[in-house]
């Protein structure tokens, strides 16, 4: 306790600034940490001893039909209702505008009646085309990885374990292509569940749905193998099944979310940066933590070896990361580099001075990892109910000061240049698919989404510079209502400085992918596999314990997993050791 308090006292000196953190190049190099939302959810499942049951399996021999998988918490039950169907191969696409999927899901709040299941059978397979009720918390769909799916079924049916290399190269049996919550298509609003303990952290019901989908996919292949192979069939080896995650294809929808929820993003980033700062402020390493870190450097090397992507840019970054992690390991072999006062700050500083953003952010995750006892509580601070409010009582001179202090990055951009306003964001009438258009090429500039933060601040600043300080902001907004949204945003930034992406989102060189990776890392996703600058595939829950492993002592040790093996070293300072 004394150690903890000392750390808390002085960590502020070690906080990275918003100017450093909220830049696209660093955001686009993010990795999950132990504060990521999947980690938080798994820790809660273990702590509260959640139970899991398959309560319905009404499918044919090909696996088509309906199943229900339930998570039973101390206070209530959540049920994943899964519908599976055969679809034409040429209609299997990751895009929002797809019309059919191998599997569709609703996460039901409670235990569904037959009437509920019948209602959802007529709606869930339609996805956006259906309508949902406040009893439904999440809507999702997934497509099979055909290669892995068939390989696993045929292997298990013939009594052998599947090709681990193939599983490693893909990472999942099914890939979700959308997971909707928070009132989408009539589903329950977040406010309905926000005060439940298990829903307090961000995206917990969405990630619970994904966790149950993962279980469903593994259960499905084992059942189908049994059906096909009879007595000869075997179940998946535990280490292999644990390595199977759920894929996800993420496109542009996540980018507007990040920009429209600045208070929430601030809380996420502050929690992570506080965790890092607390670790960097430790003068003498906590017992065992350095040793765990050194072992994790070895494991992460293997994890990176298994992270293979076709994208040239990411491939080059992974290759460099491999070399840098190797170089860091060699640097750490010199004990004088690490066994000294403020060892974690020394390691961080060395990496920041010498290596790529990709390596810097991976090391941030690695040095936070052995410090569960001093950082895990921060997970409770990552939500918010706060909605940015227009504050009419701020003075115009205060507003000018905030713009000058926090938006220098925006006011110094030359927006008269074509490349500074090359892109625009819009919603297509095709299922409201968000798109990233190019001016002069794509139609729809007039219907641009209000995400041009830098440009709007720049325009406001020009007017502010010509306006006397003696009028109130309320009067200013009456005269210039077109700036109301951006003033509100600036006022929010004044109180929540980590809320704003400090780059021009319209720039020709802007890659939406950086925003996606930033958000996905907070979710806990890994194995980022960009398919263009607009979308990426990822893996979720790879290495996480399955429902029957939640009570095992190593339930919280699954960062940077490696194929077919549990973590090669025991973790430290985390909740699972206490549970064990």
């Amino acid at each position: 306790m004394t150690v903890k308090l000392k750390i808390l006292d002085k960590y502020l000196d070690f906080m990275r600034t918003p100017e450093k953190v909220m830049r696209l190049d660093r955001m686009g190099s993010s990795f999950p940490t132990r504060l990521s939302f999947m980690r938080t959810l798994i820790r809660r499942m273990a702590k509260e001893a959640w139970r899991f049951e398959r309560t319905l399996r009404n499918v044919d021999k090909e696996g088509y039909g309906v199943s229900v998988y339930s998570a039973i918490t101390p206070n209530r039950t959540y049920s994943l209702i899964a519908f599976t169907q055969e679809i034409p191969a040429d209609m299997r696409t990751d895009r929002v505008i797809a019309e059919v999927w191998d599997a569709t899901f609703s996460l039901f709040d409670g235990v569904p009646t037959q009437e509920d299941i019948d209602y959802l059978a007529n709606n869930t397979p339609l996805q956006e085309g259906g309508r949902y009720r406040p009893s439904e918390l999440v809507l999702a769909r997934a497509n099979k990885s055909l290669r892995v799916f068939e390989n696993i079924i045929s292997s298990l049916a013939s009594g052998v374990q599947p090709d681990l290399e193939l599983i490693s190269s893909v990472g999942y049996l099914m890939r979700t292509t959308a997971v909707y919550g928070s009132g989408k298509f009539g589903c329950a609003d977040r406010a309905k569940i926000a005060d439940r303990d298990e829903c307090n952290a961000p995206f917990q019901v969405e990630l619970l749905a994904v966790y149950l989908i993962r279980w469903f996919t593994i259960d499905m292949v084992e059942e189908l193998a049994q059906e096909r192979g009879g007595k000869k069939a075997v179940r998946l080896d535990k280490n292999i099944s644990r390595f199977i995650g759920v894929g996800n294809s993420t496109g542009l929808g996540m980018a507007p979310f990040l920009l429209k929820h600045p208070s929430l993003i601030h809380n996420w980033v502050v929690a992570k940066e506080t965790a890092l700062a607390r670790v960097r402020s430790i003068e003498t390493a906590l017992p065992g933590t350095i040793e765990v870190f050194l072992k994790s450097l070895l494991q992460v090397g293997q994890h990176i070896d298994e992270w293979n992507v076709a994208d040239e840019v990411q491939s080059a970054r992974i290759s460099l990361l491999t070399d840098e992690i190797q170089a860091l390991r060699m640097w750490c072999e010199d004990e004088s580099n690490i066994y000294r006062p403020y060892p974690w700050n020394g390691i961080y500083q060395y990496v920041e001075d010498n290596f790529s953003f990709e390596c810097q952010e991976m090391v941030v995750s690695l040095i936070i990892e052995p410090h569960g006892s001093i950082v895990d509580e921060l997970a409770d601070t990552m939500s918010t109910n706060s909605i940015p409010k227009f504050k009419a009582d701020m003075t115009l001179s205060q507003l000018k000061e905030v713009v000058a202090d926090a938006y220098n990055w925006a006011t110094t951009i030359d927006f008269s240049l074509e490349e500074s306003q090359h892109h625009f964001w819009y919603y297509s009438e095709d299922k409201l698919e968000p798109r990233f258009g190019s001016k002069g090429v794509d139609k729809g500039v007039d219907q641009e989404m209000p995400l041009a933060i830098g440009r709007d601040v720049h325009d406001l600043n020009k007017v502010l510079l010509e306006t006397d300080d003696d009028i109130s902001i309320g009067e200013f907004a009456m005269t210039y209502p077109q700036f109301r949204h951006i003033i509100r945003r600036i006022q929010n930034t004044y109180e929540r400085p980590y809320s704003e992406v400090q780059d021009n989102l319209l720039s020709e060189s802007m890659r939406p992918l950086d925003l996606l990776r930033f958000k996905l890392a907070f979710f806990g996703a890994s194995k980022f596999d960009p398919k263009s600058d607009l979308w990426t595939r990822i893996s979720m829950y790879q290495g996480a314990p399955l429902p029957d492993q939640i009570s095992e002592p190593n339930h919280d040790c699954w960062s940077f997993p490696i194929a077919g093996r549990s973590q090669s070293y025991s973790c430290i300072n985390c909740t699972c050791q206490k549970a064990g």
């Binding site: 919603y427 009438e429 902001i473």
Partner: protein, 244 residues
């Protein structure tokens, strides 16, 4: 989604009404506040499309204006449309909230010729402005008084059975809620709302929207860009058939 008699979520109210406001050329910041006001309307059991369609129609047909002016005199303060037009409730509502936040409630605030008074009330409610009385006489000669008592309770007193969400075109008076003037309409019908209970009901049952909803959706649709083969081909994930 464009059909009437739907049940929608509060998040959908936020999404569609923000863009419906933008669809009639209201600035995005004003549209965001308009949507928040509609959430308050919906949370209290009213159909937000019934309440807001007139305000959107008026802006779209230029019968109302967002142009607003402020003046102070010995009787209090006054917000009105510069051109003498109908004042859009979208602008009147945000300006009232701003005015109260900046000035507090010393004396009365008059807001002249507002097209949809309930939207002004809902903006005050959504911003937790309490201890306030809002009253008006509309163009059908219906007299309404809304008391925003505290954060948990508000009430409507009306001179007739006419639904408050259909009340249009009125001069609104906003003043402090004094116990002695709590009910100033003779033989008025009182309806009391418990904010927490009403919100809970809405969260458990959703927001029912009626026959005005398709027109709200129509305004929302103006924010959508028509799709073409080219734009479809440039979307995220384009050209890929799953083969992994």
């Amino acid at each position: 989604m464009s059909k009437s008699r739907l049940t929608i979520s509060l998040n959908e109210v936020l999404f569609y009404f923000t863009r419906a406001g933008f669809g009639v050329n209201a600035p995005i910041g004003v549209s965001e506040d308009f949507a928040r006001s509609n959430i308050w309307v919906a949370q209290n059991g009213f159909d937000p499309s019934e309440c807001s369609l007139k305000a959107l129609d008026n802006l779209d047909s230029r019968k109302s204006s967002l142009s607003i002016q402020f003046e102070k005199n010995e009787n209090g303060s006054h917000l009105f449309c510069k051109e003498g037009n109908l004042l859009s409730a979208l602008e009147a509502s945000v300006s009232c909230v701003d005015w109260l936040e900046f000035n507090g409630l010393n004396g009365k605030l008059m807001v002249t010729n507002v097209d949809c008074p309930l939207l002004v009330v809902s903006a005050l409610g959504a911003n937790q402005c309490t201890g306030i009385k809002v009253s008006w006489l509309d163009n059908s000669n219906n007299h309404y008084q809304v008391n925003l008592c505290d954060e948990t309770k508000w009430e409507i007193i009306s001179s007739s059975e006419a639904p408050v969400e259909k009340s249009n075109n009125a001069d609104i008076e906003i003043s402090a809620l004094n116990a002695s003037e709590k009910i100033s309409i003779k033989n008025g019908k009182i309806r009391t709302f418990n904010v927490t209970d009403e919100k809970l009901k809405t969260l458990n049952n959703g927001v029912k929207v009626g026959d005005k909803w398709p027109q709200i959706y129509e305004y929302f649709s103006r924010c959508l860009v028509k799709s073409s083969a080219e734009s479809r081909a440039s979307g995220a994930g384009a050209g890929l058939v799953d083969t992994d």
